[in-house]
């Protein structure tokens, strides 16, 4: 039983353990499968228009032979004070008080792309063309998620359709949502368990416990004051070196 804070609000939070992330890309493909994210053809990739709601940024450090690669999975940080929200002229993106999510309402989006410019993480993707799902690939599309048309902004939603389904089932069965009952597709698929997901306001949740004075927890571009909901656990070092 998860007792949220007094007002019943939740703060969905994800923890990315950079020490465990092996960069295998299972989360990237799982996200495409769950959220009908279109795949860019080669010419669009060259034009730098690939759309991946979850991407793995690989940074190089050092020169050969002691060169080091760092994987940093980056997705929408669902910021508490999101810079992308106030700039939208039609409230197509706003802060969902109930779950602490940064909502992107496709039907309301006019396509000014101002939100994407103001996102320091560049995790918002614009549909420059209508997505192409060659017949019969459209059978695979998840009916719970709107297939976005051209001219609309899209981004990671923490698989809000899975959250909603779990919440609805829990409400119909008269119980509150258990910790870990709802996982986004990437967290569910991650082989090494680098991704964890839960409600930070619920003290009993695994996420909350892990974050309690965890020295390794740090947030991406925290100095910008966006209050992101994603905590990265910095990679550890071993006794041997």
């Amino acid at each position: 039983m998860s007792e949220q804070d007094a007002s019943g609000k939740r703060r969905w939070t994800m923890i990315v353990d950079l020490d465990k992330c092996s960069g295998c890309g299972a989360c990237v493909v799982a996200c495409h499968a769950e959220n009908n994210v279109p795949i860019a053809a080669e010419d669009q990739v060259v034009a730098d228009r690939s759309q991946h709601w979850m991407r793995i940024e690989r940074y190089w450090e050092g020169e050969y032979p002691d060169v080091k690669a760092r994987f940093v999975p980056v997705l929408c940080q669902h910021c508490g004070e999101a810079p992308c929200e106030p700039v939208c002229p039609v409230y197509a993106t706003y802060h969902d008080e109930r779950g602490g999510l940064n909502a992107m309402i496709y039907a309301r989006c006019v396509g000014t792309r101002y939100c994407a410019n103001n996102c320091p993480y560049r995790v918002r993707f614009f549909n420059y063309f209508d997505p192409v799902f060659a017949e019969p690939l459209n059978n695979q599309l998840n009916p719970d998620v709107t297939v976005r048309s051209a001219g609309v902004m899209e981004k990671c939603t923490f698989c809000v359709q899975r959250i909603r389904r779990a919440e609805h089932t829990a409400k119909v069965e008269g119980r509150t949502l258990a910790d870990g009952e709802v996982l986004p597709a990437c967290v569910q698929a991650c082989p090494t368990g680098a991704l964890m997901f839960g409600d930070r306001y619920d003290a009993a949740s695994a996420v909350a416990k892990l974050l309690e004075h965890n020295g390794r927890a740090v947030r991406l571009l925290e100095t910008l004051g966006t209050d992101p909901s994603i905590y990265y656990l910095k990679g550890g070092t071993s006794h041997v070196d």
């Binding site: 792309r113 101002y114 410019n117």
Partner: protein, 484 residues
């Protein structure tokens, strides 16, 4: 036929001799307001200018119309297929459409500034060129107003940005800079259009009386609202013009500040700076005045308005341009120094990109156009009084200012906080649409000069009525009477 133009040779140096007659002659030739040829001749010349388009200019008009149509077709394709034809990508979401918006609104500001601010400050040189400048504003704003629609992903939903009641009970978000843009540009458009119209009334009345062509007569009598020039109407006209002049100057300042706040409100490195407001206004006036110089050069050369638009006007405008270039350099250096000295990593990445990186050629070209050319040449009196050279300098400044905005929007956006997503901007469909926009402005400018007298003869007449010559000691100088 225009008033013969050899009355003001290009290089009029003041006469050495003491002879009074020569001095008067020189002063007359140099200053329009001291060289009255009577309202009748002036009306004749001003109305004549409407029909002086030669074969070349008509061909140019047709070409420009074609280019504008081409851009319209390009936009329709983009509307139905998607924004994929542009050069935008997952890092750079704003491109030449927003650059065009800022550029054309920038040009729009000079017109209003010259007619409103000069009127408030009482600069007499505004009299012949006020309407020419305001027309630049009018059509620059028209073009600028199109771009917020063209750059939208789903333009047919733009009515959601208008605060009208709807069944969804949803209202636009008035904390967004784009919403302020909408409000500010609407106010500015309304202000500019009405300001031109008020100034145009007496001239339309004059044209109504003089024109012989049937459809022109019906057009002007409808447009001039039955203006008879009674003292009561003139008094109202004076006070409404004054109200507009005083109100439209702060509105002008607010519009370009808000347009610059579209960028300053973000936390994008290179954009998030407090001086963007004044910096953009100075940039606007800078490119705007250059645009007005271009217009003046065109009117004088092609519509043979040599009598009205003389060297003294070019001289004043060029000085104003010189001052604006100093102001612009001052602001740009300020921003550059603050960024460089602060040495914040994301900001420094952008600085390196501009100075030595991929964008270096564009940046140095901009510096050449905006700094070297104007400051290098405009201090010379001979340059300031020569419309040909000023035309060239003005075009350089246009290129420079367009590049400055291109660097701010297209290039700086390519360097976000997370280095993995750096990108470069290769414009695609935006180029034909930008060319189309330029031709749209110039096309409608020509059409405007065909339908409406571009010189405000009543203002020039009033000016000449108020000015005269006075002999102080051995020198004959001009003076303005305080009968106003």
């Amino acid at each position: 036929m225009s008033i013969e133009t050899e009355r003001n040779p290009w290089m009029s140096a003041p006469p050495e001799s003491e002879d009074e007659q020569e001095q008067v002659e020189h002063l007359r030739k140099d200053h329009l307001l001291l060289d009255p040829v009577g309202m009748e001749a002036m009306n004749q010349d001003a109305l004549g200018s409407m029909t002086r388009h030669g074969r070349w200019t008509w061909m140019l008009i047709v070409v420009l119309g074609g280019l504008a149509m081409m851009a319209g077709v390009g936009w329709l394709v983009q509307l139905f297929v998607g924004l994929g034809f542009t050069g935008l990508n997952r890092t750079i979401f704003w491109g030449m459409y927003i650059i065009n918006l800022v550029y054309f609104i920038g040009i729009g500001h000079a017109g209003t500034f010259i007619s409103a601010a000069f009127r408030v400050m009482g600069f007499e040189t505004r009299r012949p060129i006020a309407r020419a400048a305001e027309t630049v504003t009018l059509f620059a704003l028209a073009a600028a107003g199109l771009f917020p629609i063209i750059h939208l992903g789903r333009p047919w939903k733009v009515y959601w940005m208008i605060p009208i009641p709807n069944q969804r009970q949803l209202w636009p978000n008035f904390q967004s800079a784009l919403e302020w843009d909408a409000m500010a540009i609407m106010t500015y458009v309304v202000g500019s259009v009405l300001f031109i119209y008020i100034g145009l009334l007496p001239d339309l009345a004059m044209a109504r009386e003089r024109t012989g062509v049937n459809w022109r007569r019906r057009l002007y009598s409808a447009l001039s609202l039955g203006w008879r020039g009674t003292d009561r109407q003139w008094a109202l006209h004076e006070s409404v013009s004054t109200i507009f002049a005083y109100v439209i100057i702060p509105v002008m300042f607010s519009v370009h500040t808000i347009v610059s706040w579209d960028f300053a409100m973000t936390i994008q490195p290179g954009w998030h700076s407090t001086i963007f407001g004044p910096f953009f206004i100075v940039g606007a006036l800078y490119s705007g005045v250059a645009a007005v110089l271009v217009a003046m050069g065109f009117l004088r050369r092609f519509l043979k308005l040599g009598y009205f638009i003389r060297e003294e006007h070019f001289d004043v405008m060029a000085k104003f341009l010189l001052i604006m270039s100093f102001a612009w350099i001052y602001f740009y250096f300020g921003e550059f120094l603050v960024t460089w000295y602060g040495n914040l990593p994301p900001e420094m990445t952008i600085l390196d990109l501009l100075l030595y990186g991929e964008a270096a050629p564009l940046w140095w070209l901009m510096i050449f156009c905006n700094v070297v050319v104007p400051v290098g040449l405009l201090w010379m009196r001979r340059v300031r009084r020569n419309p040909g050279i000023l035309f060239v300098i003005a075009v350089f400044i246009q290129v420079g200012m367009y590049l400055e905005r291109y660097l701010i929007v297209g290039v700086m956006l390519g360097r976000p906080e997370l280095p993995f997503n750096y990108s470069w901007y290769y414009p695609g469909l935006e180029i034909p649409i930008a060319i189309g926009a330029f031709s749209f402005v110039i096309f409608f400018y020509f059409i405007f000069t065909v339908f409406v007298p571009i010189i405000s003869t009543w203002e020039v007449g009033e000016g000449q009525f108020l000015h005269g010559l006075r002999k102080i000691g051995r020198k004959i100088t001009k003076f303005k009477s305080d009968m106003h």
